[in-house]
Subunit: 320 residues, 2 copies
């Protein structure tokens, strides 16, 4: 299944999400309006809002609550990207220059804050304190996770457990906010809410593993940013962890981390590509996708459940 | 009236607010816990949480809602200060080294995000969508206001209207969130909610004018940061605007803004102090305090209303 087919049960409403995202740039301050419109014109694949809508689709599909929630998760995602790019001093994202690279770090920090505020306004429209609390907790998980990632940069002494905790924080927590809130707002029974939450957790972990794989296997054009960015920023991901596990002391990743230099970047990428590391990482990602699919067993068999299956399968084969 | 007397009707509950603020540093990540405890140990005068509690005190004083709200406004305030200091590269705040000066800008950005998240969790505990929406709108007002301040730095072409809009955004909007939410959560009648909102607006404007005066008249020890910081950062405040209005072209503020140098800082401060500018600024601040007091006319005559009067009077004479 391709994304267009997966999104079909909610495509019309996803268009409304996109239009609403664009509408936030219609504000009084001309200058800020320009930056916002720059930010929201390229909104990626929209997986997170799709998760919210698809999770609600099998139940009481009340768009008065589900639409603002879907907008809110995408805005929170965009806000964290703007801050991450400022922190990483990244130059490109989704193929276009980052806010920090054009207008400076100060504007990027404030713009991210403004987007958090907008995300908060939309989540308030759900009128559902339980979901609003989850929203704030998720932001806390993401930012404390980012603090740990930043503190752990260029640190070779990290376990796989550290890695999984980190990607849960930075990615899976928002995926499961998206699914769980969709289920809650559609008044799904509690066991279904719990299952959809776990689906989001597992899909998010798989998504981030594949994202970390693509940082080695993809092209700058497809990624929208330079290949090998994770290593350049000192972030140890599953492929580089496996490389260290398998190729002892004389290892280019260790050299990159010790010298903070990119000199050995091409060598590290080549060693990963020449080994069985990439298929091994895909295998681990697929296991999480399969877990995600099993989480759907108790969900009503509807078009949207089939779409969520399709999405897990789609994530597991990205880049293959 | 001194602060201790003003706070008396809610002092016990303000202590609980302080204890709750301190408790947020009791978290899993040891390192983050340390930074948070550094941040919340020195919490300033606590005017914002006091405003929430005092505004609710005349009505249905339900601490289940008012306490988390008071914690939330203080956390939002702290988060914006952490981001502001990172943006301004400020070294000192409340007499102690800033987060950015100790741990770097990256940590300061993420720490601010974490505090916004915590503020969001507390406001969610009020279970009141109207207040949660106001909370998010206020964060939007503050951050878009900060964007404008940053963009307007070292710009001499600013009107008094620009100044009042700016200080409404950066200070008064949070004061009126504090008062308005206190009134709403205590189920005050709508006219009282509106009056307390306006009280917050007017008190906040006065508070910021006096804060801007103190940047000229106070000492580094009392301010907890260097004197003249606003001019150093290119922020035009009421005293420096009046200096430009009154002393034509050969003006030290213009020189500071044109050269981005601090060479003329002492001269600018001295010129302000030798003129009638400071008393004139106090007069304007007092007018806002008087407006704030008039906003209380329709409020039930209780100990907490008298405290809010006292607070307006306290603000107007700070530094005199």
């Amino acid at each position: 299944m391709e994304l267009s087919e997966i999104y079909a049960p909610v495509q019309q409403d996803l268009n409304r999400v996109r239009d609403t995202l664009r509408s936030i740039s219609r504000i009084e301050y001309t200058w800020l309006a320009e930056q916002l419109s720059y930010l929201v014109k390229e909104t990626g694949k929209g997986i997170r809002p799709a998760l919210t809508l698809l999770s609600g689709r099998s139940y009481n599909y009340n768009l008065d609550y589900l639409l603002p929630m879907a907008v809110s998760v995408e805005l929170m995602h965009t806000a964290t990207l703007v801050h991450d790019d400022a922190i990483d001093k990244a130059l490109k994202r989704r193929g276009q220059a980052t806010i920090n690279s054009i207008w400076g770090n100060e504007i990027a920090v404030l713009m991210g804050d403004y987007l958090f505020a907008k995300a908060g306004e939309f989540v308030a429209e759900t009128q559902t304190p339980r979901v609003i609390k989850l929203f704030s907790q998720t932001l806390g998980t993401i930012s404390s996770g980012e603090i740990n990632q930043f503190r752990g940069a260029f640190n070779l002494n990290q376990t796989r457990e550290d890695y999984f905790r980190r990607i849960y924080g930075k990615t899976a927590s928002l995926f499961s906010l998206a699914t769980q809130s969709g289920a809650i707002l559609a008044q799904a029974p509690e066991p279904a809410v719990a299952s959809l939450k776990e689906y989001g957790d597992n899909l998010g972990i798989a998504f981030q593993i594949v994202d970390d794989i693509l940082d080695f296997t993809s092209t700058e054009e497809a990624l929208g940013k330079p290949v090998g960015s994770d290593l350049t920023q000192g972030t140890l991901t599953l492929p580089s962890m496996l490389l260290i596990e398998r190729y002892g002391d004389d290892n280019p990743v260790k050299k990159i981390f010790r010298t903070h230099s990119q000199k050995n970047l091409a060598e590290a990428i080549q060693m990963v590509l020449n080994s069985s590391i990439i298929p091994d990482c895909y295998k681990i990602a697929s296991e999480y996708c399969e877990k995600a699919c099993r989480n759907l067993d108790s969900i009503l068999d509807t078009a949207s459940r089939r779409a969520l299956y399709g999405l897990a399968e789609y994530v597991s084969r990205q880049g293959t």
